[in-house]
């Protein structure tokens, strides 16, 4: 394994252990940075050590002690350095990784700070990479990280996995951060920007670790399933020019069967037991889409039923919109159209877009065109705009 790959895979786990040992985010980060630099200088000539992870932890720990020693000399008030640093261990402890993610996703931190801190410390992404992925200036992102770390230190946000009754509540925040990272990468894949596709990969990696480290919890399984099932179709969502390809027109032979199988198996586990989580139900819907041999063979009735369950768990007009579309496909377009008219979602382009689509399918082209124009007035994403314009042209083309 080369050093870059090692950094990618082990950074968060090593950092988590170091933070516990030295009880200071910045000190641990600096020390680990120095340890990687030392590895870069020494390994090519001397060959990598037998256990690279242990080497990095030991080296980083020594760097941290050096740093503490320098600080102690500066302020002279601290004389017992050994007491400041927990006893040496050179294996990353899984519990440390969990502690770190719960600290990074602490609800006392602003959501955007939770995301930035998670990507920086757990995933080892650079400040520049995160800033680019979220389209914010580097100084803004850096400032966000500094403030979050200052709050962790100053307000003493604990470095602990919450106890049983708190765990479920706090886990919600962690999962929300992971899903946000995934969605940021997924929604942006229209732009085909590589950094952003990496966000999907990172989110899935985080999801896997949560499933592994919290085996008794069903929600992480639901979320991982959902992400895998979406990600399995990522490559077919746009064509070579970056234009949107609808689910029904996607080349199903290019879907990632391994991810779909893994996701579907997780859905089954996530749906076991009550209460059902929103992630599990959404994953079940995604699984039905992913497993349909063709668009025409999609089990819309089952999907509509699952959306009804989802409305119960997570009532929102957007979920009702999806439910109406599924009912349109299962029970008839007019039926769905009538349901759409009961939904109040001002300013959301997908409502008129869904109406337009049902009207187009019904052959009511003039009404469809009006609805596409409404959607176009609201849409912001370029790829979606292009798609709606293409549809509008299709329904306004003179009949041949």
């Amino acid at each position: 394994m080369n050093l870059g790959e090692l950094h990618r895979r082990e950074y968060g786990r090593i950092l988590a252990s170091l933070i516990r040992m030295v009880r200071d985010f910045d000190l641990a980060e600096d020390a680990l940075q120095e340890a990687f630099a030392a590895a870069l200088a020494q390994w090519p000539a001397q060959g990598p050590p037998q256990n690279p992870v242990a080497w990095l932890i030991t080296t980083a720990r020594h760097k941290a002690i050096d740093q503490l020693r320098r600080r102690a000399l500066a302020d002279r008030t601290r004389d017992n350095l050994a007491a400041l640093v927990a006893p040496e261990e050179d294996v990353p402890v899984p519990l440390d990784w969990l502690r770190l993610i719960f600290t990074c996703c602490h609800p006392a931190l602003a959501p955007e700070a939770q995301v930035a801190l998670t990507l920086r410390t757990i995933c080892g992404l650079s400040t520049e990479e995160i800033a680019r992925a979220f389209l914010v200036p580097v100084p803004t992102l850096a400032q966000r990280l500094v403030r979050a770390k200052a709050k962790i230190r100053g307000a003493r946000i604990p470095y602990e996995v919450p106890e049983d009754d708190e765990l479920a509540k706090r886990l919600d925040t962690v999962l929300a951060v992971v899903y946000l990272v995934f969605n940021e990468g997924y929604a942006a894949s229209f732009g085909a920007e590589l950094v952003r596709a990496d966000l999907c990969k990172e989110a899935i990696r985080l999801g896997r670790l949560l499933v592994e480290l919290l085996p008794a919890e069903r929600e992480p399984k639901g979320l991982l399933a959902l992400m895998l099932l979406h990600d399995a179709r990522r490559a077919t969502r746009t064509d070579d020019e970056g234009a949107i390809v609808l689910l029904e027109d996607q080349d199903r032979s290019r879907w990632d069967r391994v991810k779909i199988a893994e996701g579907a198996a997780l859905v089954v586990q996530a749906l076991r037991g009550r209460p059902l989580s929103a992630y599990a139900v959404q994953a079940a819907i995604a699984a039905l889409h992913a497993q349909a041999p063709s668009a025409g063979e999609t089990d819309w009735r089952q999907i509509a039923a699952l959306y009804s369950v989802l409305v119960g768990i997570q009532p929102s007009p957007v979920v009702e919109l999806n439910r109406a579309v599924a009912i349109a496909m299962a029970d008839g377009l007019e039926h769905g159209l009538a349901l759409l008219d009961t939904i109040h979602l001002p300013g959301y382009h997908l409502l008129p877009a869904a109406r337009a689509d049902l009207l187009r399918r019904l052959g009511r082209h003039a009404e469809a065109a009006a609805a596409y124009r409404q959607a176009l007035a609201l849409v912001t994403n370029t790829a979606e705009r292009r798609f709606l314009e293409w549809r509008l042209a299709e329904v306004t083309r003179p009949a041949s």
Binding site: G154, I157, P158, E160, E166
Partner: protein, 119 residues
């Protein structure tokens, strides 16, 4: 580590509440305070008169100004505070979450107190 719990609520809403409900909340408040004294978290507390009795002092262009009322017109007003000793923020948040006024629209701001050694 010490934390200050700044207890804020909408004074108008409090004033409009039925007397029986106010009594109920105040009684629960006494129980809450006794419980944090007993558990050893309590350091200090104060209940404030409403902002109608507040006076604000400030300086403008080098001139001392005295005005009637609180320094900021907000929906919620500071009604009291507690200082508690806790292990970490989670412990402080758990205690803040037990304050009875939360159920009648109150909000609690939790702020770490700067230790004397860092002042």
């Amino acid at each position: 580590m010490q934390y200050m719990l700044l207890c804020c609520f909408d004074e108008g809403r409090w004033a409009a509440m039925p007397e029986a409900q106010k009594c109920q909340v105040m009684q629960e408040y006494d129980e809450f305070l006794q419980s944090i004294v007993k558990s050893g978290h309590f350091r200090a507390s104060a209940k404030l008169h409403p902002t109608s009795l507040a006076t604000t002092v400030c300086e403008q262009h080098g001139k001392r100004m005295i005005t009637d009322g609180p320094f900021a017109e907000t929906k919620e007003q500071l009604g009291g505070f507690h200082i508690i000793e806790c292990q970490d923020l989670d412990e402080a948040l758990a205690i803040a979450g037990r304050i009875p006024t939360l159920r009648v629209g109150g909000v609690i701001e939790v702020r770490p107190v700067v230790p004397p050694s860092e002042r």
